[in-house]
Amino acid sequence: MPALLEVRDLRVEYHRASGPVVVLNGVGLTLQPGESLGVVGESGAGKSVLARTILGLLQPPWRIVGGSIIFQGQDLLQRSERELARIRGREIALTTPEPRKHLNPVRTIGDSLADVVQAHSRVSRREAYARAVALLTAVGIPDPGLRLKSYPHELSGGMCQRVIIAMGLAHSPKLLLADEPTAGLDVTISRQILDLMHELVNGFSSSLLLVSRDLGVVAHYCQRVAVMYAGQIVEVADVPTFFAKATHPYSRRLLRAAAAARDERRGVSAAMGERAIGGDTECAYVPRCPLAVEACRQQRPALEPLRDGHRVRCIRAAEIASGAVEV
């Protein structure tokens, strides 16, 4: 079965007066129809940028300098803005970590939702409002008829996120890019939001790319997990394999941290100090890696398969997997 989404060697730079900064350094991943993939990593690893790049939302000073994004057999990077506009919101949809900021503050959510409905289907305004009510019901907002007339500042953070999800799923997209959907929400609400998304995505048989800093969330709601570090994927595996046999030193560190933070519901935080991304001359994790050896500094490792469905970007992967070294 052909993959729904295939990202190949994607490179993205951010241009500053002092020179370009590499943000995505050759990212590659695949997503099958109906599959859910979790992308984890710390702040600044490039996860949000990845989601936005897939939809072609980047503007200068951000620049795509290499790679391809194949969606349903077509390279999205070759598509014009007009063609992308037809795909956005209809085939691929996006949610955001800051829902309230991404809603039009001077427009009622009914109007905003109806706009989204009418963006990709020829229906009357009346019909659009009716669909909006249906969507609000589907995302679990009580009194949807009343809520149509509310403004974003009158809604709680959780409700705003539900509205954003409603907008995203208005046209039953084939792929939902969920960018940290539970950022800033407390535990119970987060759980509800994630359950809701999971249910809806399954109902539409859509694929889900869930970007998160929380390994626990990914474990629960995704089938596969990809770990991002310094703008590249360093490990990919299905969830059971990952949690049993994660190999990359960074993945192991994440797992340990997640276990420790489980009760505090804290994601992974960035290490202190700056990391320069971009060199192809050495492995990006060298500064923090307890297993780094001379060979690690010679060359950037490739994402090699370790076993079926499990790939790792580390030259010592085999050693770690066999238990010859302790991480």
């Binding site: 936005r52 939809l55 939302l57 506009a85 037809r86 795909i87 956005r88 919101g89 209809r90 949809a93 996006l94 955001t96 800051e98 900021k101 991404h102 809603l103 039009n104 503050p105 001077v106 427009r107 706009d115 989204v116 963006a119 990709h120 403004y151 500042h153 009158e154 954003i164 907008m167 995203g168």
Partner: protein, 336 residues
């Protein structure tokens, strides 16, 4: 209903402000070195007249009583007498006010009608030669004196090209003034279907209005441009793009959100125009309130000056009140 509540609250705020303004204006006269009665009565006043004024103002009474007397007079429409014209100030003001209103209202309208679209276009288009030109215009307009620009316009369009009439007031002296309805010659001429007077009045309006508009429209353009630009880059417009909404819809979103700050800028524009009108009226011998105030200053005629300052402040507060109310109608976040 919420609007009425808000209006009531806002109006209630105005009252103490009005009081404070009146106190300040009252004290302005007390700034004068010397005997206020003598100064207000004027240079040619007789001893009896001075005594009259002293009694009128209650200058022998304690200060707060003087203030009360002053307020009572003002509320009855008595702003004193101009010793230069020997007429009650109220009459002078009534005669001259329409001319100033014409100037300020027309300039404000033109600045908005021309400035807003330019600002929006400039924000949408982004970089480019036109934008650089606008930036230069903005900087220049804020730096040159408006009265000087008026003189330049007069030189170019009157002395040189002879397209427009000279700075001799609102109407050609050979043309008869239309019967007074509003006091604004353009309006009155149109009402009386006196097209000769209408044409003359419009021609005379052209240069002063152009002067004020060229200088103060830059304010509108700058503000509209930066607001709309900010809105276009905002997160909710970006998200609309992520959902595939058309560029036109996104522009609508940006413009809707730009309305509240622009409404505020309109208030500031009027505030500036009031100051600019004083100088421009002087240059064009307009015969309006601004010129009246200047003449009062030059001739040490204090009653009219005091009245003018009070009126200017009250008018400004009114404008700010209207701006606040409009803002309330236009921004749902204030309502909630």
């Amino acid at each position: 209903m919420r609007f009425l509540k808000y209006s009531a609250k806002r109006l209630a705020l105005v009252v103490p402000q009005l009081l404070a303004v009146s106190i300040i204006v009252f004290f302005l006269v007390r700034l004068l070195p010397g005997d206020p009665a003598f100064l207000i009565a004027g240079q040619f006043a007789t001893k009896e007249r001075i005594a009259d004024v002293r009694a009128q103002l209650g200058l022998d009474k304690p200060l707060y009583e003087q203030y009360l007397i002053y307020m009572r007079n003002v509320l009855h429409g008595d702003f004193g007498t101009s010793w230069r014209s020997s007429k009650p100030v109220v009459k002078d003001i009534a005669q001259r006010l329409p001319g100033t209103i014409e100037l300020v209202v027309l300039s404000a309208l033109l600045s908005i009608l021309i400035g807003v679209p330019i600002g929006v276009l400039s924000a949408v288009r982004g970089k480019g030669l036109a934008n650089k030109a606008l930036f230069v215009y903005g900087m220049l307009a804020g730096s040159i004196p408006d009265f000087w620009l008026g003189l330049i316009f007069i030189f170019v369009f009157f002395s040189l090209l002879q397209w427009l009439p000279g700075p001799i007031g609102q109407l050609d002296p050979t043309v008869e003034t239309p019967p007074t309805v509003t006091g604004m010659i353009v309006v009155d001429a149109a009402l009386a279907r006196d097209w000769e007077a209408f044409r003359s009045a419009v021609l005379h309006l052209a240069l002063p209005v152009a002067t004020l508009t060229v200088v103060y429209m830059s304010l509108i353009i700058k503000n509209v441009r930066s607001t709309v630009e900010e809105m276009i880059k905002s997160e909710f417009v970006e998200h609309a793009r992520a959902l595939g909404l058309s560029p036109l819809t996104r522009l609508r979103y940006a413009l809707q959100n730009s309305l509240p700050p622009v409404v505020t800028v309109v208030g500031i524009l009027v505030w500036f125009l009031l100051g600019g009108a004083v100088l421009v009226e002087t240059v064009f011998a307009w015969g309006g309130l601004g010129q009246y105030a200047v003449e009062a200053v030059v001739n040490s005629d204090y009653a009219p000056l005091q009245a003018f300052v009070l009126l200017a402040a009250v008018f400004t507060m009114l404008v700010f009140l209207l701006v606040d109310l409009a803002y309330f109608m236009v921004d749902p976040r204030i309502r909630g």
